[in-house]
């Protein structure tokens, strides 16, 4: 028997990655670069200089119309009504039962236009979820194929991108964006990222992505820019304790559990999942996401079991080496009663309980 796998999806930069010698992997159905020069080198390059990532696999959903805000408010947890034009907001789509459909970035382009960046493998599901809950005078477009997305991240990101755009980047504050021009073509330029460093994410036409990728690399050459892959993206986001769908969050996890209460505004009015969240808050949240650091020899990795006082108590959602901190870290779910900082836990590594201790998060925070 021979089973044919569905063809992997490719970003507009796929041929560039192949040509530049990136190691490619299947990431949620996308053929993506996992590393170029090496995960550690790319990680340090982003923390110390500047790295560039192809994140064109991410999805974009556009909500337009006189009642666009009403729809966004109904399907998301954060207060979209508080957004000013040119501002972005981390938020979530929930099911009625309070579990995550996805975590998202909502950008307010205009009073009647919201631009939502969503996870690659969730984009069709997210689009259907939003469209199915739309009784308003608003249109929903699954716009992923119209955008390539490139992330320029690190302390030299601003200087790098500034060489390619007439837009003055310095005044754009964190989690704000502007529509301007990069290398002669229209671009949405957002001061956002998934690395814990300063940086930008630009949304551009896919046909122009390869040219702009090259121009970014040339512009950043004097700062030591390097292309970076999903491997470094993961170690960077884990150090900064940014959630990854399918790991820290998912359909069976609520924002209370995932330590994401700050993106839930219960007092903003009706939204999908609100009732369930109120109920869970009344009844008490029984498990919580906590950070840990390995004490014994071994690395706690995604999916490994966690024991407290000899009893199975939770699981590791993401774990691995933290290159900036030079230790092995992770995030895990534990019963809320056991989830305080400073607790000794054991992570089951290939049949052996290896000692670890819960520690405060984020593990890494950049100096302002």
């Amino acid at each position: 028997m021979h089973q044919t796998q569905p063809a992997l999806r490719k970003t507009p930069l796929h041929a560039v990655h192949r040509r530049m010698g990136a190691k490619m992997v299947d990431f949620g159905g996308w053929d993506m670069p996992v590393q170029y020069s090496g995960v550690l080198d790319e990680h340090h390059t982003v923390r110390q200089r500047v790295g560039v990532f192809d994140v064109s696999h991410m999805g974009e959903i556009e909500v337009r119309g006189p009642e666009a805000l009403k729809l966004v408010e109904l399907v998301t947890t954060n207060a979209a009504s508080k957004l000013k034009v040119g501002q972005a907001q981390y938020s979530a789509l929930l099911y009625e039962h309070g579990g995550f459909v996805d975590d998202i970035l909502v950008h307010k382009v205009a009073d009647d236009h919201y631009f939502i960046c969503v996870n690659a493998s969730n984009q069709d599901k997210d689009y259907e979820h939003i469209a199915a809950n739309n009784p308003f005078d608003a249109t929903v477009e699954n716009a992923g194929p119209r955008y390539a997305q490139i992330a320029i991240q690190g302390p030299r990101a601003l200087e790098t991108l500034q060489k390619l755009t007439p837009v003055d980047l310095q005044p754009i504050r964190y989690y704000h964006f502007t529509d301007g021009v990069v290398s002669g073509i229209p671009a949405r330029i957002a001061r956002t990222g998934y690395t814990g460093e300063d940086g930008f994410e630009i949304y551009i036409a896919p046909e122009e992505a390869a040219r702009i990728w090259e121009e970014i690399l040339t512009a950043g050459e004097e700062f030591g820019i390097k292309p970076a892959g999903l491997g470094a993206r993961n170690t960077l986001r884990l150090e900064s304790k940014m959630a990854l769908y399918g790991h820290e969050i998912g359909a069976s996890i609520t924002p209370w559990e995932a330590d994401l209460a700050w993106i839930v505004k219960l007092d903003k009015g009706e939204f999908i999942g609100r009732e369930a969240l109120i109920r869970q808050k009344e009844q008490g949240v029984t498990r919580k996401l906590v950070g840990f650091e390995m004490k014994g020899r071994g690395i706690g990795r995604d999916g490994y079991e966690v024991f407290v006082d000899g009893l199975p108590s939770g699981w590791v959602t993401s774990g691995g080496p933290a290159p900036t901190l030079n230790k092995n870290i992770g995030l895990c779910y534990l019963p809320a009663t056991l989830a305080e900082v400073g607790r000794t836990i054991h992570v089951m590594v290939r049949g052996q309980g290896v000692e670890a201790v819960t520690i405060p998060t984020p593990f890494y925070k950049r100096a302002k």
Binding site: G38, N234, T235, R297, P321
Partner: protein, 126 residues
Amino acid sequence: MYPENFRYTKEHEWVNVEGDTGTVGITSHAQEELGDIVYVDLPKVGSTAEKGKTLGSVESVKAVSDIYAPVSGEVVAVNELLATAPEKLNEDPHGLAWLVKIKLSAPAEAQELLSAADYQAYVGAE
């Protein structure tokens, strides 16, 4: 690139037999596939290695890979260097960064493994 006097497995280990002892490591191809190696888990001196069974593991930033014993016998030495400098496995996998030495209980086993030329052809075709 692959030393002529070593023998190789399809799981990307090598063994260099000298007298009744085999020095065991992973191949350059293996370290390249793994990427940055950050942790090496090796058996204790005195433990028994059985050909084809798990001998230990090597971890890169991203993933864990088992190491399989290419030959059977008693583990008589482990490379202490790798406990503090696992990155040596990326730099010198056929030399300084050997993993263990095994006192062979069935010396003929090594002859069943791939020659350098056969291994080169195998990874070339992989």
